[in-house]
């Protein structure tokens, strides 16, 4: 099996040459070979370190700026939604006959930090939508969707659609008047598509009208179906970003003396 070439180590981590007169360490205990640390033990069994080095320490082009961090920012917004959502699910009850509204009221009024975690999830949703559009705008205006990164763009667009679907399904869950009527209107907009629209709306509602299973359907889609798909697609997205590298800003012209132009950074963009 061919071995991956090891990426260059940052200067600080490169082993220093021996100074003259220092005793040679030949014959001394070599911790890497002996495998006496926990990290060595893990690495010997998983061989993860080349992969981690491949992921974390990679060349990024000259001239990158803060706009390149929007993707990471969106990722962290997603993680925020995932973590707060999992814990909200411990208190939430998808019961259309009144339990859902009551459980949200309980989270906001009685649970320790409940209003805060609920607020993080609610406002984090808007933040994520804003960030994902800014990220998309950065990629578009920098021309970063061009060859060979088309597939990264396509996966990103699917992630955008899934994020909007998350917003739509999550909006119903508090089950107050605004949630209910916004969902009624949203499903009816859906039904306006010719031929397939009515069936799609039937599928969303689980019947011809808003009924007992609609709320749990939305809840299941919101917390199981879409997040699973998004996690998998984010993995693919990040793999492609790492594999293909990131683009230089479009105003940067390539020129002859490239020596020393490529800074090695630990930036995760």
């Amino acid at each position: 099996m061919p071995k991956l070439p090891a990426p260059p180590l940052p200067k600080a981590l490169q082993p220093r040459p021996k100074r003259p007169g220092e005793p040679s360490d030949a014959g001394a205990l070599n911790p890497v070979e002996a495998g006496i640390t926990v990290v060595d033990w893990l690495d010997e069994r998983t061989a993860l370190s080349p992969g981690l080095r491949w992921l974390m320490w990679r060349k990024v082009p000259r001239g990158i700026n803060w706009a390149y961090t929007l993707g990471s920012a969106t990722l962290f917004a997603f993680l925020n939604q995932a973590v707060t959502g999992v814990f909200l699910a411990m208190y939430y009850r998808p019961d259309a006959a009144g339990g859902a509204y009551e459980s949200i009221r309980n989270i906001n009024d009685n649970v320790f930090l409940g209003q805060f975690v609920h607020g993080m999830h609610k406002w984090g949703a808007s933040v994520m939508i804003i960030l994902i559009f800014l990220h998309m705008g950065r990629v578009f205006f920098y021309g970063a969707y061009k060859y060979p990164r088309e597939l990264t763009w396509v996966i990103g667009v699917v992630l955008l659609i899934l994020t909007l679907a998350m917003g739509f399904t999550g909006y119903l869950l508090p089950f107050d008047q605004r949630s209910y009527w916004a969902t009624v209107v949203g499903v009816n907009i859906n039904a306006g598509g010719p031929f397939i629209g009515p069936f799609l709306s039937d599928f969303l509602l689980g019947g011809a009208d808003f009924n007992a299973t609609t709320l749990s359907r939305f809840y299941s889609i919101h917390m199981l179906v879409i997040p699973g798909a998004m996690a998998a697609l984010i993995g693919a997205h990040l793999y492609l970003v790492t594999k293909l590298g990131i683009t230089a800003p479009p105003w940067l012209k390539p020129h002859a003396d490239q020596d020393g132009d490529h800074a090695v950074a630990e930036a995760r963009v």
């Binding site: 907009i189 039904a191 009515p198």
Partner: protein, 222 residues
Amino acid sequence: MPDRHKPPKSKYTLDRNIPGAFEGETVTRRTFMNIGANGVGAVAAAAFTLPALGFAIAPIFKRQTWTWQAIGKPSDFPKNSYETKVINITPGVGEAGNSIAYVRARDPKIDTEPEDQYNQFVALSSRCMHLGCPVRYVPAAERFICPCHGGVYDFRGMVAGGPPVRPLDRFYTRVNNGLVEIGPRYSVNNELHRFAPRFPGEPLDGIGQFLYPAQFDTAGKP
């Protein structure tokens, strides 16, 4: 395109250097194993995917049964104004399953659609035919007005202004044992022809009735 320069592949596995193959074997055991293992995997995956998918989309194909709810005596309903009646259209979800019907007695002077046993009382659904918000009857104006996007309907529920694409949906009504009863909902086009219920926002005039097929989850005529 067949390669003319290559000799044709022997059908005998011995000539193809596949160890352990029987003379004259056309499907080798390796191919058989490949197809078999992948096939079994596909069957196993289908065994849980297909029932789960059917489970998720089954409500599309469910058909409702006809139910009738008594809403009052015939004398309760005047010809020139609407009575507001709360009816239940979806059981099991508490208030979210309730809806409002605006009911009046049929007035032959203004109700020009053909008369039968199901429209002796005109029962309009409060669901706006733009995007499904609840309309409100304003007696002074004799209009139905939608709070969301400004849809307006006249006294018969026909579109008088705003974005709605068809008149207000109606309910079948009948008189049974001296009580007015309200039945399933149906949709109408601008000539008040009856159609199986459609979602709001779907016009039923001209090509619209073909662009938006009726939902499976609807009862036929009684």
